[in-house]
């Protein structure tokens, strides 16, 4: 009986180890995406997505309202197509709002800031941001400045 109990506990111990390794593989090194809560999808096309990454922050007035699900290249327009998950509770983003890529701090990660427009109609599931502003590329800015263009 004692032997069977030891077998069981050691079995559970080994399972815990395998589960921990699976967690490290899936959640920490990101082999699968984590599904989020209630949200709806918006799209935004950027000329330059810069250092934007999947699961980055989407905020409005500095408050997080969603995250980026995917970034792909649109093969017709050669623009970056960003898929954004927005919390279902934020369902009244004006339709003429702009998606702007910003950097948090000087060296921080990049995120999308939604600048609020004035339209009475609001964006709904599957809509695309009409105006976007691409990532500021410091190097390009300096190059343009130096070459006087």
């Amino acid at each position: 009986m004692a032997q069977r109990k030891a077998d069981l506990v050691v079995g559970l111990f080994m399972v815990a180890g395998i589960a921990a390794l699976l967690f490290l593989a899936l959640q920490v090194s990101g082999l699968t995406p984590k599904s989020s809560g209630e949200s709806y999808t918006l799209y935004a096309n950027f000329n330059d997505a810069g250092g934007l990454t999947r699961r980055a922050n989407v905020s409005m007035a500095g408050v997080t309202i969603g995250s980026i699900r995917d970034i792909t290249l649109n093969r017709e327009t050669f623009q970056a197509r960003v898929v954004i998950d927005v919390n279902s509770s934020i369902d009244n983003i004006p339709a003429d709002s702009a998606a702007v890529i910003r950097t948090s701090g000087l060296l921080g990660e990049q995120y999308i800031d939604v600048s609020v427009g004035g339209d009475t109609a609001s964006l709904s599931d599957g809509d695309t941001f009409y105006t976007t502003q691409s990532a500021m590329n410091l190097e390009r800015l300096i190059t343009n400045f130096a070459s006087g263009q």
Binding site: A6, F23, A25, V28, N57, S67, S104, G108
Partner: protein
Amino acid sequence: MQWLINLGGQGRELIESLGRSGQFLFGALAGVPNIRVGFPLLVKQLYFVGVLSLAIIVVSGLFIGMVLGLQGYTILSDYGSEAAIGQMIALTLVRELGPVVTALLFAGRAGSALTAEIGLMKATEQLSSMEMMGVDPLRRVIAPRFWAGFLAMPVLAAIFSVVGIWGGMLVGVEWLGVFEGSFWGNMQSSVSFTSDVLNGVIKSVVFGFVCAWIAVYQGYDCVPTSAGISSATTKTVVFSSLAILGLDFVLTAVMFGDF
């Protein structure tokens, strides 16, 4: 002149001890193991060495993760990049702290116990009486304990890392308000399964081998008196800790160094 003789004697003793430990390990592991007899013994040792070490591993992992979250937040928030604590915590734990701290705790918690147990068996002549009965103590007593230490270490290190990451998330995301999406997102984009997680597992496997070897050897080789057992237990902890830290540097240089 006398000190030169002493020095030579000590050096010779050290080399002899290394030789004995090599022979000892070979004796314990060589030969075909009897699964039917050996497996229950191994499970019993895994229980003592692995399962009973879980408490100290989980608690230390939790607090180390929480401290990493707190420290990372205070430093990184100056640069507005506090969302990077996800990758900082995960990389620190998976690459370094998980295997190393687990191995140090393991040497203190399980290694010392193994040495004391085997040393007492030797002092009370249980090992010699086994030999008299025709049972090889190397295979009956030493091998299951060695394998248990060897197998338990990677499991404990993986659990340590996971609990630590959870503790860091608790502090960073729940208490200090880092956005959860960028916490996990940064982590997932910077941690690679093969070069970070698997290298951490390899490290803990190496540490498990070394810790278990030192612990069972010190017990088996101790002077069979109470003073001998106490000095063998001390040696286990000291030698294991030094070996872990030294090997960690070598392994890090091989795995993550750029040469």
